[in-house]
Symmetry: C2
Subunit: 208 residues, 2 copies
């Protein structure tokens, strides 16, 4: 039997809590093992802080499952690494030296990378090669020189999946499920989420 | 100048974290003052527990802003009370005696009530009068005898607003914003959330 798929979702103070929560919850609904990992603002600080709470961009306090520890986050152990947005949270995460190294390792190992909203800045800070990508419109100008910037809600470029904001978090998370577990699993978990009729990402054509 | 609008969102162990987070975050984006209030499983237990963490239905740990204390939650102080879903969370919240009293008070005072997913069970437990309502399909059979059951994504019945699940959380939250602050505010906050083109609830006709 195939090993259960596993995903890391990074979180920091200022992470957009809808983007974090929709992705985490949707992956769990698909039977993926998910761990949230706190990235400290001061990258030289001890990785384990107490109390261990991330304050979201709109003030929701989320307790992460664990703390940034490179030795625990090898691409051998995970199929996917996600960076959510939120201006301050994505700034902290995308500039963290351990995160930059991990992103390069995951990319080279052919593991999935999922960046949404300002989280797409991580493609730049980690030095990923020029390719199709999207982000929140607010950071388009920072990214369009180094990437083939797209305004599609979700952009799939090999193992790099990028997306735009809270409003695209559902199609982003469902695309990650589809890439890891296939289209039938995506369809299975869409149903009990009760999207309104004509929601454009439900029963959408298979992502390229 | 009009006083800032204020909302209470209830949360318990087992609350659906997407429904909670999307509603909270969207109301904050609209400039509404939001407080999350933890409802304990054992209604006879002290209202202040430590550590004060609600474990969501898919395992996300959220630290609520405060604890159920009827004296702090008078309808004089708030314009809206929200009950999110999640089977276990909504069971705890809808059966709590203080919640049932508060819901009756808010209803009588003409304040908004927002119930989503299994949170709609609260309309039954609090004894609200027969009227149009929706819920997660999983509890339709429990509600359809006592209410005019609808399968619309969001049902507005006077000051009772109900909705269906994670997939209807955005139109639910945006409808609450529209009812409290008007259509221009709703349109203003929709834009930076970057919904995909043709998302049915964006620039939707004004709710009845």
């Amino acid at each position: 039997m195939e090993r259960q798929k596993a995903a890391v979702i990074l979180i920091a103070d200022g992470t957009e809590e809808m983007e974090f929560t929709i992705t985490y919850d949707t992956l769990i609904r698909a039977g993926i093992d998910v761990v949230s990992v706190f990235v400290p603002e001061d990258s030289s600080a001890p990785h384990s802080v107490s109390p261990p709470i991330a304050k979201g961009s709109r003030g929701i306090n989320i307790m992460p499952d664990s703390y940034l520890d490179r030795s625990q986050l090898s691409p051998d152990k995970y199929n996917l690494l996600v960076v959510p947005g939120g201006a301050k949270g994505a700034d902290t995460i995308s500039k963290n030296p351990i995160v930059k190294e991990l992103v390069k390792e995951y990319y080279t190992a052919g593991k999935l990378l999922g960046f949404i909203c300002n989280g797409s800045l991580t493609a730049l800070t980690a030095g990923l090669p020029r390719q199709p990508l999207t982000s929140h419109p607010g950071v388009k100008s920072v990214l369009e020189k180094d990437f083939q910037y797209s305004e599609d809600p979700v952009v799939v470029s090999g193992n790099l999946i990028t997306s735009r904001g809270p409003g695209t978090s559902f199609p982003f998370a469902l695309t990650l499920v589809e890439k890891l577990l296939g289209r039938p699993k995506r369809a299975e978990i869409e149903k009990p989420m009760v999207f309104p009729e004509n929601t454009p990402w439900v029963n959408a054509p298979t992502s390229k």
